[in-house]
Amino acid sequence: MSKTANKLLELKNLCKHYPIRKGILSRISGYVHAVDGVSFSIYEGETLGLVGESGCGKSSVGRTILRLMDPSAGEIYWKGERIDQLTRSQIRPYRKEIQAVFQDPYSSLNPRMRAADIVSEPLRNFEKLSQAKGRERVRELFALVGLRPDQMLRYPHEFSGGQRQRLGIARALSVKPKLIMCDEPVSALDVSVQAQVINLLGDLQKEFGVSYLFIAHDLAVVKHISHRIAVMYLGRIVELAETAELFNRPSHPYTEALLSAVPIPDPKHQRKQIVLGGDVPSPINRPSGCHFHTRCIYAQERCKVEEPKLEETSPGHFVACHFKLNT
């Protein structure tokens, strides 16, 4: 990714806390710190992968960017303009530019709507097209994502999982967005179909220059599709780097362990595996200092008390660790 590319989206210290209510008075007894000070930017035409294990807050980041939820703190900028405090009506024009593809192709499509109506709904919302023109656009979109025009009048249940995900992509593309937030777009699909959807996303980026925020837990998929990757752990970004850099020189012990835990489909492969002990701690009672110190094999006294800041170790490579590896 060239550094001259335009910055589309910028997050500064984004936080999302969910209150936990207890008792008959629903008093707030604590907070789930789902997103805890996340900062990154997405440039035009690039794919930023956001990885982490379940509960790390990656989906909350995506939903906050879409303003499906309001951030608890922090700032969101779209092309330099601050958008996190806009009202519902003020945010409308930005909704056209940031679209989404969700994980579950079964529940993210209205079962009572025909495929053509699903795909054209954003069009009807944001663009005043004549009926004939609208139908023409839907036909184009169907062709673009590899669906047949005769499938336009069908209902979602008549499509397979992969085809439904194509419908979701066509819907997101219909208003020519600049950024598509993809939240686990292929994890519900079988391997052979997954490849079709990944290739489609790549082709569309080449053709239209659209950017993706690609949220997923499958590192192989993220590596394949992303230009840069951010690794999250318990609400924070622990490492962010260009894809090759991250895989060749992981500097955070969590990234190192995460990469080594992925099974390689080659029986002759001898890997030096780092198996982390224990589970991810709860985002309600988070460990002090570095959140990862309870599972980290390199942890020392300092990690328990002092929170490491995200620092740039080499151009474009950010790490939040007191004892960085490979530097």
């Binding site: 490849a195 290739n199 192989a220 599709i225 390689i264």
Partner: protein, 333 residues
């Protein structure tokens, strides 16, 4: 890696499990054969709907009937056909000689019983233990699957445990009676990668210690490469290829196996090249398939493939392939 020993403990022969639904007969498993020996891990891979889970449920005779029915075939355990067993005889086998780990550790545990009760149930059914013996054995099992503080965990409920811990409990339950065969149906699919690594390590360790045979049902070829000695690839209810794990990854002969390997993004790839797609999708199981089920998606399909069902043929070194035009080049992995 443990060595496979000669005599198979379980031999599945020409198994056919059909489901009789209102919309017609679904041939979920349509003539599948394989065997497992002591200390061996056999992986059954395939995509959703290929019949891999139904195969594993059929072995334990857990197919709901109706609508399901094991139509033909035999499942020989130490030479005796399980299909001829009475329900009572089957109950003695399940959880004792052959046990199973399911995919969903969230739904396969009873939420209102403590961990101890659930593991203990297996022991009460199959062993004449006293209360103290049961408790001692449960603690031993919890330690074996690396549950921290087993003395306090034994009285906890499933919701108090994380997903990885619940899967450990499932494994402890399955191992309670030292089974000869452990069937693991997607044991790590619901888990995060770092937890998956823990569970796979544990399963390998236990296999080497107990010499149990493992039938591992999965869609993840990475897990297969790490765990299995032999692999059966299924497509649309049939076995399309079987080989030892090295041959399968190095020289897959069925176009579907090759397609699966090529369509996966891999961490060990240097540059991101375009993935090779398998066009189309898995056929509907409701209509009878004429010829090779993979033919409509196969690039090397010929006239013969659409008419005649391919027969399994040994291409040397116990490498079985059901294909009229097998791939004969070695791929560079």
């Amino acid at each position: 890696m443990s060595q496979t020993t000669g005599k198979p403990i379980l031999e599945v022969n020409d198994l056919r499990t059909y489901f009789y639904t209102r919309d017609g007969v679904v041939r979920s498993v349509d003539g599948v054969s394989f065997s497992v020996s002591e200390g061996e891990t056999l992986a059954i891979v395939g995509e959703s709907g290929c019949g891999k889970s139904v195969t594993s449920l059929s072995i334990l005779r857990l197919i709901a009937s109706p609508p399901g029915k094991i139509v033909s075939g035999s499942i020989r355990f130490h030479g005796e056909d399980l299909l001829g067993f009475s329900d009572e005889q089957m109950r003695d086998i399940r959880g004792d000689k052959i046990s199973m780990i399911f995919q969903e550790p969230m739904t396969s545990l009873n939420p209102v019983l403590t961990i101890g009760r659930q593991i203990g149930e297996v022991l009460e059914l199959h062993r004449q233990y006293t209360k103290e013996e049961v408790r001692r054995r449960i603690l031993e099992l919890l330690k074996m699957v690396n549950i921290p503080e087993p003395e306090s965990r034994i009285d906890e409920y499933p919701h108090q445990l994380s997903g990885g811990m619940r899967q450990r409990i499932m494994i402890a339950m399955a191992l309670a009676c030292d089974p000869e065969i452990l069937i693991a149906d997607e044991p790590t699919t619901a888990l995060d990668v770092t937890i998956q690594a823990q569970i796979l390590n544990l399963m390998r360790e236990l296999r080497d210690r107990t010499r149990a045979a493992i039938i591992l049902i999965t869609h993840d070829l990475g897990v297969v490469a790490e765990m299995a000695q032999r692999v059966v690839v299924m497509y649309a209810g049939r076995k399309v290829e079987e080989a030892n794990v090295f041959d399968l990854f190095e020289k897959p002969m069925h176009p579907y196996t090759l397609g699966l390997l090529n369509s996966m993004p891999r961490l060990d790839d240097a540059a991101s090249k375009r993935l090779v797609e398998i066009p189309g999708m898995v056929p509907s199981m409701r209509t009878e398939i004429v010829g090779c089920a993979f033919a409509p998606r196969c690039s090397s399909a010929s006239e013969r493939c659409t008419q005649e069902s391919p027969v399994l043929k040994d291409h040397g070194n116990e490498h079985w392939v059901a294909c009229w035009n097998p791939v004969l080049v070695k791929v560079n992995v």
